[in-house]
Amino acid sequence: MSTKSTQHGYTIERKSDHFCGRFFAMGSPCELLIDSIDEQLAHHLTSLAYDESKRIEQKFSRYKADNLLHQINHAAGLEVAIDDETHRLLKFADTCYHLSDGMFDLSSGVLRKAWQFDGSDRVPSADTVNQLLPLIGWSKVKLSTKHIQLPIGMELDLGGIGKEYAVDSVAKQCTQEAAGVSVVVNFGGDIQVTQARVNEQYWHIGIESITDDGAAAKLLKIKSGGLATSGDSRRFLLKNGKRYSHILNPLTGYPIEDAPRSVTVVASHCIQAGLLATLALLQGPAAESFLQSQNVQFWCYR
């Protein structure tokens, strides 16, 4: 009962009552579930989603050398012109920085030079970490509607919001292109459902649940809204019986202690859920009580 077709880097597959489009982008398997049996529509939406995610990846990936983010990170202290989309994204990050009192910081990526969470026991020396601290601090970044200026040596990493933003952006395009059709946008577990299905039934989505013994499928029921997961229990260091999570405190340069291994949050938009999950991780032992006080549905894995 399934037809499969491959085209332009994505595939679409007919399920019993919907279509499923798949491709790979932003380092994750990406999936679109389209509550329609119109094959043309499925093609249209999946190719749209594919183009949009590739566009965002191309623009904001820190692994590419010919994009805007690379320009910003290698401007040697000079001003770089930015477009409206970049400004909005950075403004969002700015809000998160203020909301978290500096704990969510796009410039904290440089700490990766000291910390490699490969399961080994290579905890960096205090000197190595302290040398990097002056290069962190979103407040040192000058942002206006048209320009951004980073101090020399500083770098931005949009990894914490890029994928969630892409999910929301694709979901928005699907809403515009196919009003009235429920679409699930699922990029590696960061999910947005554009609207409830016609007959109000749940979408059943398998997401990778993170446990110590690796990936086990978890079946999730969702009607509409956004969902995101932060944390990755496979990325850690272990030294003298102490486990170092990959969630780093930009203020100290060291991992947050007693952080949950992963946090999944439900909110009306994916990026909102993603940020709440990240802010919860930064709370360490208080992650659960933080999320409770925010009145959101969540799961914490410790």
């Binding site: 909005r88 994204l89 403004k91 969002f92 809000t95 998160c96 909301l99 978290s100 009192d101 704990m103 933003y165 929301d168 952006s169 928005k172 809403t175 515009q176 909110a267 009306s268 938009h269 990026i271 909102q272 940020l275 709440l276 802010l279 930064l282 709370q283 360490g284 208080a286 009580s289 933080f290 006080s293 925010q294 009145n295 959101v296």
Partner: protein, 438 residues
């Protein structure tokens, strides 16, 4: 951790930030042009035994992107009924000639004289354009045109607003100039000339003679076909966000009027010691008026709705001081419906030239008007509005209000017969309105 000190706000703040990032759910990222938005309303205003008005408004707004906003409005209203002439009630029936000079009407004993020829249709058009002119600065300009049978008004306005303190504070400066022309049927009456009484036409013998005499009399009371007035308004405003729930506004307004401010339809009774009318004179007001107003408004976001309260103090060189308190409380009944009680209180002192009547034998003052609207009075309005959002996002609202004016004696002695009649009758009106926004 510090985050814990700001509990629930974070998720709502993130929601707001997400909206800013992704834009409104239905807005198309590709074109920032938004659709036209329309505000329409139909209002009925009915006074007991006096004026009835029906007014329709269609307002349209469009955002052309980057805060370049056009708004326009068409207002049409129709007015019929009777309004107080300024003449006093008498223990006997009185005969008056209509202001146009065309025909008579009789006011019964003890009744307040009302001119029953109030009948007019007005069309008003406004257009306003607002756009940013610099970082944190907006400018706005507009025109306003209003036309009715005997009155025409044309106005232009311009203002600038400056945001500072992270847009928590907005300073504004506005100027407006209006030019009004009045062309009453029958012409502009001569100040303090006696109102000519049209002879009864059943006086057949001398009909033509009387008619000619009346026309001469009437024409002697007329100076011109039309007159006009200029109004310049200056307004300084300060809007301040107080905290997450409260916003305040302060305005200072200066208004300079120069020209014909008299109401050509209003008259004064000249009474004798017994309080009996001996003559009727056309009123006369100063040809300038300088007004100052101070306005303060506060809106407060409650968990269940919005509280809105304002106070206005106004004072002018006609010596009219007024105080107005206006308050609305929006009570959300659900996510899509609300009830909104409204209460307004108004109090004004009398103009220094206000005279409910003139005494026979006294010198005629330089200015005098018996228009009760320039006398001392209090007024209040109570109302209730119910609004609901429809499934398609449009908004429908109903409003019902009661308005009562209670004019008061500002310290005038009432000779003889005037003590037995009501010189300061109160006015009661009902306002009903349906509005639809889409």
């Amino acid at each position: 951790m510090q985050l814990m000190n700001k509990p629930i706000n974070i998720s709502s703040a993130l929601a707001a930030a997400t909206c800013a990032l992704l834009g409104a759910p239905n807005a198309n990222a590709a074109d920032t042009d938004e659709l036209w938005k329309f505000d329409t309303a139909l209002m009925y205003y009915g006074e007991v035994d006096r004026v009835t008005a029906v007014e329709a408004i269609i307002g349209a707004t469009k955002d052309f992107g980057d805060e370049h906003i056009f708004s326009g409005k068409v207002t049409i209203d129709g007015l019929t009924g009777a309004s107080a002439t300024g003449a006093v009630a008498q223990p006997v029936a009185q005969t008056f000639t209509r202001p146009s000079g065309d025909g008579n009407y009789v006011t019964g004993a003890g009744e307040t004289p009302l001119d029953d020829t109030f009948h007019d249709t007005r069309v008003q058009l406004t257009a306003q354009w607002t756009q940013p002119i610099a970082e944190n600065m907006r400018a706005s300009g507009g025109v306003n045109f209003s036309n009715e049978y005997d009155y025409m008004s044309f106005a232009v306005n311009g203002s600038v607003a400056y945001d500072l303190n992270q847009k928590n504070t907005t300073l504004s400066l506005g100027l407006s100039y209006a030019f009004d022309t009045i062309k009453p049927e029958g012409g502009i009456p001569l100040a303090f000339s006696s109102v000519a009484i049209k002879p009864y036409s059943d006086d057949s013998e001398n009909e033509q003679e009387n008619e000619n005499e009346y026309e001469d009399d009437f024409n002697r009371t007329r100076v011109d076909d039309s007159d006009n007035k200029n109004t310049i308004d200056l307004m300084l405003g300060l809007t301040q966000v107080i905290n997450r729930r409260m916003i305040m506004q302060f305005n200072y307004g200066l208004s300079l009027v120069d020209g014909y401010t008299t109401d050509p339809f209003k008259i004064l009774s000249v009474v004798n010691e017994q309080g009996l009318t001996q003559d009727l004179l056309y009123e006369n007001r100063p040809d300038t008026r300088t007004r100052n107003s101070f306005y303060w408004q506060t809106k407060y976001a409650l968990d269940f709705g919005v509280a809105d309260i304002s106070y206005r103090f106004a004072t002018d060189d006609w010596k009219i001081d007024s105080h107005t308190i206006d308050s609305r409380l929006r009570i959300n009944l659900s996510d899509t419906s609300y009830l909104q009680p409204h209460f307004r209180y108004y109090q004004q002192g009398a103009a220094e030239f206000y005279r409910p009547f003139l005494m026979e034998g006294d010198n005629v003052p330089e200015f005098a008007s018996a228009d009760y609207r320039l006398g001392e009075m209090t007024a209040y309005t109570v109302g209730l509005k119910y609004g609901m959002e429809l499934d398609n996002g449009d908004e429908l609202a109903f409003r019902l209000e009661y308005y009562q004016q209670t004019p008061k004696n500002a310290g005038f002695n009432e000779p003889g017969a005037l003590q037995d009649v009501d010189l300061y009758p109160s006015l009661k009106a009902v306002i009903a309105q349906v509005s639809y926004r889409f």
